[in-house]
């Protein structure tokens, strides 16, 4: 049974942030923090790269709109041109409305699927769940995980550092 990492439990957000900053200063890189709600500081501390998902959303939007407009154009100009109320075949104003809705839809899907993909969800079985202490059963808890794969990881040392940084409990997590 290989070791995935060390899971440290903290009482509150401040403690977690302090600990994360501490471990970071100690040169740990392969670490992750878990919180019941988003915490901006952690992003800075863990130097989480800026996500490129907005571009995916933009692309989804453009694709949706373009596809649908193309479909409409094809249907009225090429496939079945027909005189409807004496209006021009290519009556763009109404077509734009539909294309707009399609754009929103495409963008939304791109965003939603994008975030799931980027986060690797669904991931029902994950090592962190092996940690006895890792649970929201008692409401908002704050966890810091140092992966065993981190070059600076030393069994006893790391645990000590975490405890010193105020971890209520440090636990080994199996992979």
């Amino acid at each position: 049974m290989s070791l995935y990492g060390l899971m440290a439990v903290f009482a509150g957000p401040e403690a977690l942030i302090a600990a994360a900053r501490g471990m970071r200063e100690r040169g740990y890189r392969r670490m992750d923090a878990f919180s019941p709600f988003p915490m901006k500081e952690l992003e800075r501390i863990l130097e989480i790269p800026k996500t490129r998902l907005p571009w995916a959303v933009l692309a989804g939007g453009i694709a949706g709109a373009a596809l649908v407009y193309a479909l409409i154009w094809y249907s009225v100009e090429i496939d079945y041109p027909i005189n409807v109320g004496g209006r021009p075949l290519h009556s763009w104003p109404p077509f734009v409305i539909i294309a707009f809705e399609a754009g929103i839809l495409g963008a939304a899907f791109a965003g939603f699927l994008g975030v799931l993909a980027a986060n690797g969800l669904p991931r029902y079985h994950h090592p962190v769940f092996n940690a006895e202490s890792f649970s929201y059963t008692r409401g908002g808890k704050f966890y810091l995980l140092i992966e065993a794969a981190d070059p600076k990881y030393r069994k006893g040392v790391t645990r000590g550092q975490l405890t010193r940084l105020g971890a209520e409990l440090v636990e080994e997590v199996e992979a």
Binding site: N83, V84, G85, G86
Partner: protein, 990 residues
């Protein structure tokens, strides 16, 4: 749901069923046992599925209906076969090709007189009536009642077998009974026997009656015609010693005065008269001239609506007006006491005198002998005889021993113990105070011959089901005396017999062939002449010769009958469609709005606004009308332009016999009528507390100051020919959208509002042609009626003497159609020739198109109005036009410019590799129109009639300010009032 459309008849397998069902009666009998009294339910299910949905379900109803429906439709089809020896019309006779209609000429009867018709027949099924252009009484036009002939033919309520004391019997049994009667009469020379006939003009029938009377010298002959108008005969007999009847030539008349005559809506000559009248009033150019019509009316009629000057007065005052007119014309001074404004009378007399021999005075046929005499005298004075009016021997002349009353008296004295009633239904149409039931009950033998098992049939010892006129061989004469033949389109559906067969049987000729009976009467015609007569639908120059007369100066002593003017006057009229009630079972007619009231499925008692005000009654509130002993309850209806202190009651309703008739609401005016009177005085009206449902299809009568029906006087038109542009919103000249090219045909329609008399013929023709479903009273009340074409009726001016305007409104086929853009599924789109096509099978029923139609000409199938189960549908499906889809529930429908007719002509033209000629495509409404108000054709053909019409200065498009570019346009209404008489509301539209 693929059954959105169905082509009745396409699958009909005639020959097989014909053999299997030699006797429709047999099946009916077997069903009687199964069905009991489920007839009404079955019928409603078949004819009005929508209503049936609402009927409480009976456990075994469905199966029962299926069973009945099945065998009924079989019974119906049993005779869907070409009767032998019939000759097609002008098109060369061709053996029946499935899918190709064949056209035959025949004659339909209207109050006993003949109106020529061309009948379209599909695979031996007569489906549509058109007028016969060669027939003097039709001139190609056909009215609502004629259209319904095909419907009554397939009416499942028709009597299906001879009945002995109400029990189905065979024709053989009937003949046995007749044989008994014949032997009895042969011995007694017809002692105690009597025949009761209706109004008839059939030469063969007359000859047969004479023969019978020579055979049985003591046999009596009575005539009962509840709508008889004997006054003309009386007058001429008084004046000239012999009964004569006038025939008018409106195409020669410059000034016409109508003394309570509804010549456009009533009488056997109405269609011809309407055509001539309109022809004389066609104005397309300021230099054109038009005739002028003065109308004195005792109840609002479409003739009054068409008049240039109209006065409404109590019936009891009409004679005074006539007297005044007579005095004025004969130069007597002090024409005192005339109820109309002297200035009016003076203007009238001036016009008449100015017109001279081109003047025409018409007396209402229902009016008194005195008024008839005045009209005759006036015409004589003005020299109109031989020009605008001719007198002929009445075609319906028949020497009889008396009327119904005389007959009942004879029965009372036991002078008569046996009566054979030919078609008449006296138990319904007898006047009040004459107990026909009691009289007939005391008879030894009562034989009834009729289409329906009506009141009289129920009382009769023997009832013989009659053959429908489309099943019969006969002959008949028109209003001008011309004789034409009646030929069968189809073998009798229910083994009905013609009146000629019955009379032959009474003459001891039991196996008479209905064809030979007629043929032999016309033995003098050789086969070619006979064929020609059949093909043309009228016998060459058979019109009656005019009789020349001289009018005695003092009107032969005829005086105004001093009518007591006190109290309320009652004006009786016959319902324009149901007549005396004989057509009460035709759903098309029940649901066809009455021209002026727009009332359907019932009748009301019409009163003037002032009288209603005085009586404190509103529309639908029941009033009790009491006149000489009798009294009826009737819903009041406020009628603008109705004479005050007068109430108009119409015959034809109040019948509960027949399942369609039973659906309608209405009172029976016969219960108030004395003798054969058309007027009663001294009636009393007492408002009741309750009110009943009166269904009308138009709820708002004013134009709200909108330029909808644009109209002007002839003088105004001459001053500015494009009056239709005056004080009307300007029409946009350009559109946001590019113009679509219509380089092939561009179908278009023009409707001349000056010509339209609002007779509703177009609407019924449209219904017959396009399989438009009648929906029944409940649905009409909810505003679910389906007519594709409606005739709007607007009033303008003072409410007691308004101008009346009619406007037929079909689909406008807008080039920038608002309905099309909003349909989400392309169910309504434009075609290359500019039709606004409606694709029923694509329609999902969003109804957005109707929301967006400014003319509201679209109709929606809110419920299933037609049965798609051929088994269940019953015989009435036989009337369907196989070239038009039958629409299912949930789809929108509308006027298609009769696209099936366009397609047929286009295919024909393309097969012959030519263009469609102008006038080749004729829409149903156009074809039926008596006044040719509707023109249809290809707008791209420079010389097309429709182009000429549309180039008239008074041509305008309805709501053209909306820039929908309608293909249907209107010619503004032009009237010709006398400048000396300022007409209220002239050139405005209140």
């Amino acid at each position: 749901m693929s059954a959105i459309a169905d082509k009745p008849g396409s699958a009909i397998d005639i020959e097989a069923l014909r053999k299997r069902l030699a006797h429709g009666g047999e099946i009916w009998r077997s069903l009687d046992e199964v069905a009991g009294t489920a007839e009404f339910r079955r019928f409603v299910e078949a004819e009005f599925p929508a209503i049936a949905e609402r009927l409480p379900a009976k456990p075994n109803r469905r199966t029962l209906l299926k069973l009945m429906g099945a065998s009924l439709s079989l019974a119906g089809l049993a005779a869907c076969s070409r009767a032998e020896k019939i000759v097609p019309y002008v098109r060369q006779p061709e053996i029946l090709v499935p899918g190709k209609p064949v056209y035959y000429a025949t004659t339909l009867s209207s109050d006993g007189f003949g109106i020529g018709a061309i009948v379209e027949s599909h695979e031996g099924r007569p489906t549509k009536i058109e007028g016969n252009p060669d027939h003097p009484a039709s001139r190609g036009a056909a009215d609502a009642v004629m259209q319904a002939a095909v419907l009554t033919l397939f009416d499942p309520d028709r009597s299906r077998a001879p009945l002995k004391d109400g029990q189905p019997a065979s024709y053989g049994d009937f003949l046995k009974a007749m044989a008994g009667l014949v032997s009895r009469w042969t011995v007694s020379q017809g002692q105690g026997g009597a025949l009761l006939v209706e109004a008839t003009t059939s030469p063969t029938l007359a000859a047969q009656l004479d023969a019978l009377r020579t055979r049985y010298p003591r046999l009596k002959l009575y005539r009962h015609d509840s709508l008889a108008t004997p006054a003309a005969g009386e007058a001429s007999r008084a004046l000239f010693g012999s009964a004569l009847t006038p025939v008018y030539r409106f195409d020669r008349a410059d000034t016409i005065v109508s003394l309570d005559a509804d010549f456009l809506g009533e009488g056997p000559g109405r269609l011809a008269y309407a055509r001539d009248f309109a022809a004389r009033r066609r104005v397309r150019d300021p230099s054109d001239r038009m005739s002028r019509l003065y109308a004195v009316e005792s109840t609002p009629t479409i003739t009054g609506a068409a008049a240039d000057h109209r006065v409404a007065i109590k019936p009891s005052d009409v004679e005074a007006v006539a007297a005044g007119l007579n005095a004025a014309l004969t130069g007597q001074t002090g024409a005192s006491g005339s109820p109309v404004d002297p200035a009016w009378m003076a203007a009238l007399v001036d016009d008449l005198s100015a017109a001279g021999r081109n003047a025409l005075a018409i007396a209402g046929t229902q009016q008194s002998a005195f008024i008839q005499a005045v009209a005759l005298a006036a015409n004589a004075k003005l020299g109109a005889f031989g020009n605008t009016v001719e007198l002929i021997e009445p075609p319906d002349a028949l020497h009889v021993d008396g009327d119904l009353e005389a007959m009942c008296q004879a029965i009372g004295h036991e002078a008569i113990d046996t009566v054979v009633a030919l078609g008449a239904n006296p138990l319904h149409t007898a006047p009040a105070g004459l107990d026909v039931r009691e009289a007939f009950s005391s008879l030894k033998l009562l034989v009834h011959h009729g289409l329906y098992r009506d009141e009289t049939a129920f009382l009769a010892h023997w009832h013989l089901s009659a053959a429908h006129e489309l099943e019969s061989w006969s002959d008949i004469r028109a209003h001008d005396g011309s004789t034409s033949l009646v030929q069968p389109l189809i073998k009798p559906l229910y083994d009905g017999k013609t009146v000629h067969e019955l009379l032959a049987a009474l003459g001891g000729e039991f196996e008479a062939d209905p064809f030979l009976l007629i043929r032999q009467h016309w033995a003098q015609l050789d086969d070619d002449a006979w064929r020609k007569a059949l093909r043309d639908g009228v016998m060459a120059d058979s019109a009656a010769k005019p009789v020349s007369v001289t009018v005695p100066p003092d009107l032969a002593g005829l005086k105004p009958a001093a009518m007591a003017g006190n109290g309320i006057d009652v004006r009786f009229v016959a319902d324009p469609w149901l007549r005396d009630g004989r057509y009460a079972n035709a759903s098309w007619l029940q649901e066809l709005p009455r021209p002026l009231t727009k009332i359907v499925w019932g009748n009301a008692a019409l009163v003037s606004p002032a009288t209603a005000e005085r009586l404190k009654v509103g529309n639908g509130e029941v009033v009790n009308v009491a006149s000489n002993g009798a009294a009826i309850d009737a819903p009041a209806w406020i009628m603008p332009g109705h004479p005050d202190e007068t109430i108009t009651l119409s015959f034809g309703f109040g019948r509960k016999l027949g399942s369609v008739a039973a659906l309608s609401q209405g009172y029976d005016a016969f219960q108030l009528r004395r003798g054969s009177e058309w007027f009663a005085t001294g009636a009393a009206i007492a408002p009741r507390k309750n009110s009943v449902r009166v269904i009308t299809t138009q709820h708002h009568q004013a134009m709200e100051g909108r330029a909808i029906v644009r109209h002007a006087s002839l003088n105004a038109f001459r001053q500015n020919p494009d009056f239709v542009r005056m004080n009307a919103p300007p029409a946009p000249t350009e559109s946001l959208y590019p113009d679509w090219p219509y380089d092939q045909e561009a179908w278009a329609m023009a409707i001349d509002l000056s010509a339209c008399i609002g007779c509703m013929a177009c609407v019924s023709a449209c219904q017959a042609e396009n399989n438009i479903a009648p929906v029944g009273p409940e649905e009409c009340e909810r505003g679910h009626e389906m007519h594709w074409l409606r005739v709007d009726r607007y009033y303008a001016g003072p409410v007691d003497a308004p101008d009346t305007f009619f406007q037929p409104v079909p689909c406008m086929h807008c080039e920038k159609a608002p309905c099309e853009v909003v349909c989400p599924v392309n169910a309504t789109v434009h075609t290359h020739d500019g039709l606004n096509a409606q694709v029923y099978n694509r329609c999902i029923g969003t109804r957005y198109c109707s929301q967006n139609c400014p003319y509201k000409v679209r109709r929606f199938n809110f419920l299933d109005h037609q049965s798609f189960d051929k088994e269940e549908a019953g015989p009435e499906q036989g009337v369907h036009n196989p070239n038009v889809s039958v629409r299912s529930r949930g789809v929108m429908e509308k006027c298609t410019y009769c696209v099936q007719r366009i397609s047929a002509k286009r295919i024909q033209a393309q097969i012959e590799n030519r263009d469609i000629a102008d006038g080749e495509v004729v829409t149903a409404c156009q074809q039926a129109c008596p006044t040719q108000a509707i023109t249809f054709g290809d707008r791209n053909k420079k010389d097309a009639k429709v182009v000429r019409e549309k180039s008239a200065p008074q041509n305008y498009a309805l709501l053209e300010e909306l820039n929908t570019r309608p293909r249907t346009t209107y010619l503004g209404k032009i009237s010709n009032p006398n400048g000396k008489l300022a007409k209220p509301g002239e050139a405005t539209d209140g």
